[in-house]
């Protein structure tokens, strides 16, 4: 069985490009060119140089000694939190901005929820001297003021999405509408493994540097490339796609995807798409999504803005359906407590998204000899206000 995209843009039953005809020329241009351009030597050279010297890759694979002792297993943390801009998101924006330049595009648009992808996009636009417009839900703009300020400092224009629920899915709708209105000069940098083909595959490839490095680093530290478990949190699923990518076909590696249960799966305030979603179409992709019986997309909830998406990338929907990955959901409270635990056990304040992944340690029993790699997708600086409010710090 293949866990990669097929020539029609599908992962099993999921994926494809369910887009209005107005978007067809843009998406088709990308589909025809993305593999060719990204395989080119000059692209690869520029991409890897920027990842090394600008982003700070390779990020360390850190053996978490105190945590390992406590849970009586071998726990490694992949330190994506040490990337420039504070999360894995920049791996993808570097790749896509190089692609946009080679396609001759001069105007960049992006959507953002918590603002991490917006900041990563504004950063690479500044680096390349390209115009940058970031769509962000009106409610998120209020919730994430520091990231809005960062984007502005970097020279981006932040446009509020005022339709629908005024959060990430609406920001994505607005970015898509912008692209429909500006089909010639504009490139849309999607921030996750979602959207129409070829975006899920393209973003997964740019993020796959994470698992590529894990393999090399484990070989050095443990004398073997494959761990027993890889664990990552999933909103749309870009850090998870990158963490899983080179292990998808390695049967002995167990894959665990961690979703946000919010206030509990049955609480009505959750973002656990695998548990609550049904197959449908969101943002041009056939995938699992949270929706009403009538097919209206419903509003998810998680304390972590980065996991607050009503769908999941088509690759993850396929991993769920085929049971290649185990899906576990973690509540707000469990994740928040792990934010403190990570800070005080390893001296690392994690993003709340990443804290969800660590909470799996309380849900599953690992063997003493197991090698467990957890992707620490981002740092917690952006979440300080949420931590302060929650713990009355």
């Amino acid at each position: 069985m293949s866990f990669h995209v097929n020539e029609k843009g599908f992962y099993g039953n999921f994926g494809g490009a369910y887009i209005p005809e107005m978007l067809y020329p843009n998406v088709e241009e990308l589909r025809q060119n993305y593999l060719k351009i990204t395989a080119d030597k000059s692209f690869q050279k520029e991409f890897h140089e920027l990842l090394k010297d600008y982003v700070g890759r390779p990020t360390p694979l850190y053996f978490a000694e105190r945590l390992s002792k406590e849970y009586n297993t071998k726990i490694y943390l992949k330190r994506e939190d040490l990337c420039h801009t504070g999360a894995h998101k920049v791996n993808n924006t570097i790749g896509q901005i190089l692609l946009a330049k080679r396609l001759g595009k001069t105007r960049i648009i992006a959507e953002t929820g918590a603002g991490q992808h917006g900041v990563a996009t504004a950063t690479v636009c500044a680096l390349m001297g390209l115009q940058c417009i970031v769509y962000m839900g009106e409610i998120d703009i209020k919730r994430q003021a520091p990231n809005v300020a960062r984007m502005k400092m970097l020279g981006a224009e932040v446009r509020p999405a005022t339709s629908g629920s005024k959060t990430l899915k609406d920001a994505t709708n607005e970015a898509i509408r912008d692209w429909i209105n500006n089909p010639i000069d504009t490139y849309y940098i999607i921030g996750s493994v979602v959207g129409p083909h070829p975006y899920p595959d393209m973003v997964a490839r740019f993020q796959s540097v994470i698992s590529e490095e894990i393999k090399a680093q484990l070989l050095e530290k443990e004398g073997q490339e494959n761990p027993d478990y890889v664990i990552a949190c999933v909103g749309g699923g870009s850090n998870a796609a990158g963490t899983f990518y080179h292990f998808l076909d390695e049967k002995e590696v167990n894959i665990i995807a961690v979703e946000a249960a919010g206030k509990g799966i049955d609480s009505g305030e959750s973002a656990a798409t695998s548990a609550l979603g049904k197959i449908g179409i969101i943002h041009g992709s056939k995938t699992l999504l949270m929706q009403s019986p009538d097919g209206q997309i419903t509003e998810p909830y998680s304390i972590s803005a980065g996991l607050d998406y009503p769908g999941v990338g088509p690759m993850h929907a396929h991993l769920f359906e085929t049971k290649r990955a185990e899906f576990i959901s973690i509540t707000d409270d469990e994740a928040m407590n792990w934010g403190i635990k990570m800070s005080q056990t390893e001296g690392i304040i994690p993003a709340i998204e990443s804290a969800h992944a660590f909470a799996v340690l309380d849900k599953k029993k690992f063997k003493t000899a197991d090698i467990v790699v957890i992707n620490l997708s981002g740092r917690g600086d952006k979440d300080l206000n949420t931590y302060i409010d929650y713990f009355k710090l």
Partner: protein, 253 residues
Amino acid sequence: MNRINQKLQEDKKILSIYFSAGYPNLNDTVQIIQDLEKSGVDMIEIGLPFSDPLADGPTIQESSTKALENGMTTKLLFEQLENIRQSVQIPLIIMGYFNPILQYGIEDFCKKCEEIGIDGLIIPDLPVDIYAENYKETFEKYGLINVFLITPQTSEERIRYIDSVSNGFIYMVSSASVTGSSTGFGDIQTNYFKRISEMNLKNSQIVGFGISNKETFSQATKFGKGAIIGSAFIKNLTENGVSSIEKFVSKIL
């Protein structure tokens, strides 16, 4: 023969009107359809509201959101339309995004459309290749005409392909935009309409997006078989209510 094709054979320019079902009030649907027919409109697109209408500008987004808040659902729309053919003869098209139709069940949806007397469907986010491979047979089994969009950026090769898969008319999107955003047509649109008309396609073309008044209607229909008004009609409903339909249409025809 399907009512759409009958209408397309008439020697006249066609005015088609779009509205969001369930807006301004939940139960206005039948009244709006009846009044549009009485006013001399040739074809009606009944908008099935969706939470995330990607191809629509603010006016249709807002009417869609309001319709959903009012309680509109696919099932309710079908109930409202149950006896519509007892009072109107006009061609009726349902325009909606793919997800609600997928959730209702493609075959059930098509079957229900045939029972009620719906003549065609416009599903902007169901691409022609996926339709041709998976759904064409089902749509045709229930006598439904599926309408595809083309834009100024659509290649000639793709237009020919869309023409070959279509069996009614082609929805010619006037410019690169979402609905409701253009304010009049220039040389670019005129040249595009002319270029398409000179392709001698088997399906006639009806222009949509950016048509709001008599002037844009006559510009759009100079080369095309007809034109569709959506956002401007909805704005009129918002400002002047359902009783203003006849007056709105009389200003265009």
